[in-house]
């Protein structure tokens, strides 16, 4: 309190605040060049989706998204130990790519028209379908239309519930929460009757507590999981597509899916999806 007066302090506060803002540097050029020259990549994944991407207590990450990310990185010339993993949530995937905080995103990242305006997608490497998760003993829900009058859990920022209420015109009551684990806790506690999301996500949770939950198996949408990268990185997109092509041709992809989805009794689709194209 002795050395600085009010106005000077205000200036330093503003400087500090802008300093914070300036964090997260901008990089340009293709990720292929970055991988080749620096031999390092920053990859965004989910930390809270068992089976796809989850952070383990020992600091490692695991799941299908992680396996595929490691494979693609290796094809780009980056070893597993040189990958820096970053959590990307549904709401912050595009900003993270745009701001250069991550090079690639493998985070159950569905290719959509809106998103393609902001980022470029390699792949897809998997086609998931929206499905419904219910309690194992609950036989009253066998399809989307049975959700009328039932309570459906959904995560803020996800479109799953809107698809059911707005596109399928099923009058379900929607409970919005902050994360999927909350939804599962509410489902098992009996506070909601169903959780709707991609079958891959639901399978991961079902596999964690075997025998307690059931996937209805009425898929009603195609979610093509792509690899997100900076907009107009054509070279990067083509390189990622080549890696995915090779991954399916050699059978490595099928092996990863068996490893991650097998436990959930989840009938996965092991064919390579039609590439989106980098044009």
């Amino acid at each position: 309190m002795r050395t600085s007066s009010g106005p000077r302090m205000a200036t330093s506060a503003i400087l500090l605040a802008t300093g914070l803002v300036a964090c997260g540097g901008q990089t340009s050029g293709s990720i292929v060049d970055k991988a080749a020259s620096e031999k390092k990549l920053v990859i965004g994944i989910k930390y809270d989706q068992p089976g796809l991407g989850v952070k383990k207590p020992d600091g490692t990450v695991e799941g299908l998204d992680v396996d595929i990310a490691k494979y693609v990185a290796k094809e780009l010339g980056v070893a597993e130990k040189d990958i820096t993993w970053v959590e990307t949530r549904s709401a912050n995937r595009e900003p993270f790519i745009q701001q250069g905080q991550v090079d690639l995103v493998f985070a159950s990242y569905s290719i959509t028209v809106d998103r393609k305006k902001k980022v470029t997608f390699g792949g897809p490497y998997y086609v998931a379908h929206q499905d419904i998760l219910v309690r194992a003993g609950d036989t009253s829900i066998t399809g989307v239309e049975d959700l009328a009058g039932k309570t459906l859990c959904s995560v803020s920022g996800s479109v799953s519930a809107k698809r059911i209420t707005d596109e399928q015109h099923v009058k379900a009551k929607v409970q919005e929460v902050g994360g999927w684990a909350e939804c599962v806790t509410r489902l098992l506690g009996g506070q909601v009757d169903a959780v709707s999301s991609d079958d891959t996500v639901l399978a991961g949770f079902a596999a964690q507590q075997p025998g307690t939950m059931r996937i209805v198996g009425k898929n009603f949408s195609d979610e093509r999981y792509g690899v997100g990268m900076r907009l107009d990185d054509k070279k990067g997109c083509e390189a990622v597509d080549r890696a995915i092509q090779k991954m399916f041709a050699t059978g490595a992809a099928q092996e990863m899916m068996r490893l991650r989805f097998g436990a959930a009794n989840f009938k996965f689709d092991a064919k390579q999806p039609r590439p989106e194209g980098c044009g």
Partner: protein
């Protein structure tokens, strides 16, 4: 508060014992009822609690989350204190064109809920700059604006509590306005308001938990999202992080009490000495001067 009642006699002692028995029974009964219902839902299963005996769960998930909470707290606290002094001094400025706008900023930031402010920072940065601020930056900016303006009022009340004679004496020996503020008023104001300032920091620490809503990786995030993703133990994890938060805040609160005690009681023989203000003081607009929730 033993002014309120007599030292208990035999009948009062008997009555007290009966009431004690009732209270203990009620508390234990409630605890038992909740416990058995949690048991029925399998929340006491050792598989759900074992992860917290694992060192890796602490080093890999909980402690990094705690670090996130503490980083946001410390950075916001430093910025909010700076910002608070600047606003507090600005609001007491002799120049109207400084005083009025600063007053408007303070009143505005105090009237808007912090969560709304954080949403605005995130969405507004995207609208203005074409990219969102990181969750950390948004949380820090929100906490700084809100707590800074509350602290500004605390500082202002502190400066006001310094008796007039002090600043008059300072002017009389030829100090300039800024020197009077710096060397005479602020040091005494800060001392007098120390309990209120630390109390506000407890509020700030608790408010970092709002960061979870905008995806900041703090202790709440580790407990509510990361740990349950591996162990499916949301309720036990929430209990564990609640205990950590309570311990942290009790620690900070104890610091406030110690600082309060160090603060000398007003000496009746020295009429010119600033005395510590209780946190429950209130300003003309009905806001508390000092920490409230």
């Amino acid at each position: 508060m033993n002014v309120l009642y007599e030292t208990p006699g035999p009948r009062a002692r008997l009555r007290n014992n009966v009431v004690t028995l009732l209270v203990v029974t009620a508390v234990l009964g409630a605890g038992y009822a909740i416990g058995t219902r949690l048991q029925a839902k399998g929340q006491w299963d050792s598989a759900l609690w074992k992860p917290f005996l694992d060192v890796q769960v602490w080093t890999g998930l909980l402690l990094p989350g705690l670090l996130g909470t503490l980083t946001a707290t410390v950075v916001s606290a430093v910025l909010a204190l700076t910002f608070g002094v600047a606003l507090g001094v600005g609001r007491m400025s002799a120049r109207r064109w400084i005083r009025v706008p600063v007053g408007a900023v303070v009143e505005f930031c105090r009237a808007i809920p912090l969560l709304i402010m954080i949403f605005l920072v995130q969405a507004g940065s995207f609208a203005l700059l074409g990219r969102s601020f990181s969750a950390f930056t948004s949380v820090v900016i929100g906490l700084t604006l809100y707590n800074g303006s509350v602290l500004a009022e605390i500082f202002r009340a502190g400066v006001r509590s310094v008796p007039r004679g002090q600043s008059e004496a300072a002017y009389a020996i030829g100090l300039r306005t800024s020197q009077v503020m710096r060397h005479v008023l602020l040091p005494q104001a800060v001392t007098a308001m120390m309990p209120a300032i630390v109390g506000q920091l407890v509020v700030l620490l608790k408010d970092t938990a709002l960061g979870w809503i905008v995806a900041y990786e703090d202790l709440l995030n580790a407990g509510i999202r990361l740990i349950p993703a591996t162990f499916s133990n949301l309720i036990p994890a929430a209990m564990v992080i609640a205990v950590i938060y309570i311990a942290l805040n009790i620690g900070l609160g104890a610091l406030a009490v110690r600082l309060d005690r160090r603060n000398p009681a007003p000496d009746p023989r020295i009429p010119g000495r600033a005395k510590a203000l209780s946190p429950a003081r209130i300003d003309s607009r009905g806001y508390a001067i000092g920490p409230v929730t």
